[in-house]
Each structure stands twice: as structure tokens, then as C-alpha cells.
Symmetry: C2
Subunit: 366 residues, 2 copies
């Protein structure tokens, strides 16, 4: 047998890592399925019935490649958002688009700034494309915008990643704060503004799609309930979209997902219903926390972070919930690792989660 | 307004390019839909009814992320192929996996070898990751294996791309020829063996998944009729799959596609039916060519290349077919640009294609 072919220098130097362990992998390890899946902030309200019908219908054309220009979806989004098609690119979810942005803007060896404990897939892409991460601690369980900008300046960062609303805290900086952040950004730094949860939040910064300082990333995975279909979009200056077109996977986006997203976008009534239900559910979770003697962080998303006070207790509660077949997440990084993050599900799911959490807290060990 | 943020040096230097113009884009340009879509080698027999039913069913879980390890599908494939799961990675089609392989093995600045006029998405990825292409002419409308190996040795190529069966010619090298190619491969060269059409061909080289000289790429887009769902797989040594896991998009593959592929794989009877129908259709196309005074290249795929004798005539025929709302392709590179490539569709589609081709040839201009 001849010798193994060498990987690139970059890949050889990378440690083994995955951004997340999936609930399916946890189920396989434990030999038991979860009954409540509240750890990935999937919308348990599902997609709009109109989107489901459109996808069912589009399956009849599953043998045909999807439109690599996603012309109809980009047209609908451009009308919806008040932009042009040339300011939009469709990808297989924000993860895909984050990879594309890192590939396009992060010169190997250069620096990207993020909060310590923020969305790990950004860090994964930065490492994968040969960049370097500088992390800034959260402050009062929020992204510390001043410290992020300082770090970007200090490290001559090419990218600054910010999820707003934030994952895993659920916190939100308002439009004025984001505008101020943009004004404070160093000349060489591009803001990757991950707005995965934006539909759940107060009004966002208005669009100025030709603003060279920011790329905004959005998805049909959260409020639109289509995480399994893998479809999201980026809003960026024309020149950036054209550059993405030079390297992106042109035939990568599922045809059925495109049809579903188009119908999901048109069904405003369903979306409004989900948003109202989630807002109500967040209030329920807040009352639940109070009743159980816990704090819950204010959230502008479809999940809430319960404050258990210490990493040990958070871990014990998560383990207790897992034993009750409830999937939640505990952030890995200090000081967020005292939180237990749970999705705001349907009324019945919220009730079952409340019972499970109460049961765990009343058990002797936590 | 502040300045544009700089792209990476690599991206700045890339010309604008897309691997293909899609039929939807051609339709938009012409303001008219195609009636026969025979230019992308999609299987007009569609997916297995069992796969369709599984996908329809899985849409109920469209709000949940797919398993990033594709455990069930990899398990089924490993049984089907007589490999282990650790030799398999699932991607969003071969295009996605080609990008991954180029990223993992092609040191920027180094060389990759392919045939002149072979699948353009490989070249697209090589350029996108900073590599250099060396092309070898086809010989007698087949990949010239000796010349490819010579070029790999001469240019110290890290990658050699070969589609077998070939696109766009439909030609095939048998298992012994591929084994000989592997034995002749220079020490530093990895063969990317694109087997997108392998189900239509005579038996392939047996698997030796730990062979460090080759990565094999397969898909559910062609014989399985699921091009729109974006799902394919690579077979490679464990160490290579583990390296891919360090950089691949872990949550990139659609959940519904995974469920569909699993059921498609299980429905051998449907697949056999498609293969028999395509084999019969190829014979019909051969008779059609003879009746029209044309040659047709022998094909081990679900398409055939009709030889029009000159680039001018091939282009004129393709334009005539387009005017009759039939979508076909003419390869761009010499000497393949005298061919018109058309998918072998259903009996009714083959009849309509035959009429259209006859009509075009009998018209005064070609």
C-alpha cells in the first residue's frame, strides 16, 4: 500500500473539533430518545402550513436541481426587506454563510473578534480558514460592545462577530447601539451581524445594504421553523455578493427549501402567531423561574437562559433534565456556564418542561 | 460612508465565474420556459415512490436540524457498500464534497490535473482555493488516463480529477483500467474519482476504503433522482474522513434529504427499473442518431452525446432545440464542442426529443 496523501498545512495543524454535539448523538450515547428537544432552539411550532404545503408540492420536482440563483426567493426577500436582489445571497443556513464570509474576508493568519462563549460555529470557521480568534468576555450576560470594538482595534481584526439577539444569553442591543457600534468600528473591521433570532426582537437597525461595514445574516431556521431544510440569507453590499458568487457552492441550496421559504415568507399571519406565542411563553418561563427561586435572563429570542448561580448547579440541573429525557444546553464558557438554556416551545411543552425543571430542583442532589 | 473592507488576497485575484448557467437563468433570459429539460442529466424518472413517501413524512420534522453525523444513512450505506461508517461522509451533493476535498488536499499554489472540458465545478473549486489547473485533452472522446498520469507527474499534482463514467462524453473506463491508473499514480497525487453516474455503468472497481490513493464521490442526484435534495457521499480512508470532520459544514445536509436517501437506497427494485429503462433509452437514442445520419457516443450514463461533426453545427442544433423549448448542453471545450448532450428521459420525453432533433436537422439552417 502506498503512502497517505498529505493534507494541506492548514488542515494538518487543526485539532479535531466539532462545533456542537447534536441531540441525536447524545441519544445514541445514552441509548434513549429525548422526549422534549429544547436545546437547539428549533421552533417547535413548525413551519407555516402554507410552507409545508409548498414543500410537499415541490417534492414532485425533487429530481430537478434548484435554481442556483434562487431568483424567486431573492425577489420576494428584496420586496419584503426593501432591498434589491443584488444585495442578497441564499445559503444552506447561517452556518454556511458564516463560512463564506470568513473565507472571503479573513486573510489566513489574521484576527477575528467574538465574545467568549458566543456561537461556536463562527470560531470553527475562523480556525478552519486559518484565522485567529480573540475573545472578549460577556459583561452582565450581554455582549460588551465597547470591549469588542476595543479588541478589534487592538488586534487589527478583519472580522467582528456579533449575534444580536444573542445566543446563548438571549440579550439584545437596540438599533441605536448597533448604529453606534458601526460608527466606532475600526476601518479594517467588518461586522458579521448574526440576526438568526431577529424576528423575535424589537425593531432592528434599518437596512443600508451598501454599508461596507456590515454583513447581516438571517435564516428560516428559527421563527420560520425550517431548521431541517437548511436555508438562510445574507444581506451585503452588491460588491460583496458578487465576490461571494466567485466561490460559493452555486447548486448547494435544496430546491424544496427554496419553495418552502418563499411560502413561509408570504404567510405573515402564521409568523405573527408564532411570535405572539413565543412572547407569551417567555413570560411563562419568567414566572416559572420566579416560582422556583431562580433568575431568568431577559430574552429577545425563542429561548430563555435560567440562572442557576453556579456552573456546578447548572450542570447538575442539565443532567437531571437529561435523565428526564429533556434536552437543554449549558454554555461552556465562564461566566455563562451557570446558565441552563431552554427553547420556548408550545404550551404543552412549556408545561412539561416546567414540571421537569421543578422535579429536578426538588430532587435531593441539586 | 467608510471604505469597503478588503477581501482576502486570494478572492480579490479571482475573476467572476460560475460553473454553469442554470436552465432557470436561461428561461429568464429568453422569457420562456423549457418544455423538455434534458441538459442537466437529472433523472426524469424521479425518486423512488418510497423515497418520496419518506420525504413527505419527514417534512413533519422540517423544524428540526438534521443529524450532522447522518448516522442512519451512513450505517445503511456502509452495509450496502460493505464498508464501515468511518469510511463515509455525507455532503450536499458531489459539488460540496469536491470543494471539501480540494480544500483539504490542495495546498494553495499547487496543481490539480483534469481533462480539458471535464466537469467545471472541480476547476471552480481549485481556483477558489488558490490552486492551479493543468488540463489534458480528451483522446477519442475519452479521458486519456496515461496522459493524465503523465501530467500529474510532470506538474507534481496534488489532485487528479476523473469522472468515471465521464461527463460530458458518457465514456467509461473499466475496473481494471482504474486499478492500473491507481498503480501508476505518482506518490503525491490523490485521485478524486467522481462516480456520479456509476449506477448506470458496468461493475466498478471493488472498494478498498483504506486505499490512500483515492477518494470516491457518489450521489443521490442521478440514478436515485434526487438532484434537488442535494445529498451525496464520499468514500475515503478513516483518517481522511476524520480530517474532513475538522472543517466540513456539520449541520449542512437537509433532514428531509437524509430520510429520502435512506429510503431510496432500500428500494432496489425501483433503481433497477430506472437502470433498465435508461439502458433501453440509450439504445433508442443510438437508433435515433443512426436514423438521422449522426454518430452517438457510447454511454455508461443517463445521457448521450450526439456527434454533430463541428462546433458550428452543434451550436446551431442546440439553438434550434432551444427554440423548440428543449434544454440540452454543448460542451465548451475543443474537441467536445461538436457534441450535443441530452439526458435519456422517459419514453414520452425521448419521443418528443427525437421529433425535435429531427425537426431541427431538417430545417434549412443546420
Amino acid at each position: 500500500m502506498s503512502d497517505a496523501r498529505p493534507f494541506t498545512t492548514l488542515l494538518s495543524a487543526l485539532p479535531a473539533s466539532v462545533p456542537f454535539v447534536a441531540p441525536e448523538a447524545l441519544e445514541r450515547r445514552r441509548g434513549e430518545l429525548f422526549e422534549l428537544r429544547l436545546g437547539a432552539n428549533e421552533s417547535t411550532f413548525g413551519p407555516s402550513p402554507r410552507a409545508l404545503a409548498a414543500m410537499r408540492n415541490e417534492l414532485e420536482r425533487a429530481s430537478l436541481y434548484g435554481d442556483p440563483e434562487s431568483f424567486e426567493l431573492r425577489t420576494a426577500l428584496s420586496v419584503h426587506l426593501g432591498l434589491t436582489r443584488e444585495h442578497l445571497v441564499i445559503g444552506s443556513g447561517i452556518d454556511d454563510l458564516l463560512g463564506l464570509a470568513v473565507r472571503a474576508f479573513l486573510e489566513p493568519g489574521s484576527c477575528a473578534v467574538t465574545s467568549l462563549g458566543a456561537y461556536p460555529t463562527f470560531n470553527y470557521h475562523v480556525a478552519g480558514y486559518g484565522g485567529r480568534i480573540e475573545s472578549v468576555p460577556y459583561r452582565d450576560d450581554r455582549n460588551d460592545l465597547d470591549a469588542l470594538v476595543d479588541a478589534a482595534r487592538r488586534h487589527a481584526a478583519r472580522l467582528l462577530y456579533l449575534a444580536n439577539p444573542d445566543n446563548p444569553t438571549g440579550s439584545y442591543h437596540d438599533a441605536a447601539a448597533i448604529a453606534a457600534l458601526l460608527d466606532a468600528l475600526p476601518e479594517q473591521t467588518l461586522l458579521l451581524l448574526d440576526e438568526a433570532y431577529i424576528e423575535f426582537a424589537p425593531p432592528a437597525l434599518p437596512f443600508d445594504a451598501e454599508d461596507p461595514r456590515v454583513i447581516r445574516l438571517r435564516t428560516f431556521s428559527k421563527a420560520y421553523g425550517m431548521a431541517g431544510m437548511r436555508i438562510g440569507y445574507a444581506i451585503a453590499p452588491r460588491q460583496t455578493i458578487a465576490a461571494f458568487d466567485k466561490v460559493r457552492l452555486h447548486f448547494g441550496v435544496n430546491r424544496v427549501a427554496q419553495a418552502g421559504a418563499l411560502s413561509a415568507l408570504a404567510d405573515r399571519a402564521f409568523l405573527e402567531g408564532v411570535l405572539a406565542e413565543v412572547a407569551w411563553g417567555r413570560e411563562e418561563y419568567t414566572r416559572l423561574a420566579t416560582a422556583l427561586g431562580l433568575a431568568a435572563l431577559a430574552s429577545a429570542t425563542n429561548f430563555m437562559a435560567f440562572d442557576l448561580g453556579s456552573p456546578e448547579r447548572a450542570r447538575a440541573v442539565a443532567e437531571g433534565l437529561t435523565a428526564r429525557r429533556v434536552f437543554v444546553r449549558v454554555p461552556g464558557a465562564t461566566p455563562l456556564n451557570r446558565l441552563v438554556r431552554a427553547t420556548v416551545g408550545t404550551p404543552s411543552e412549556r408545561r412539561r418542561f416546567g414540571h421537569a425543571l421543578e422535579g429536578v430542583l426538588k430532587s435531593s442532589r441539586v
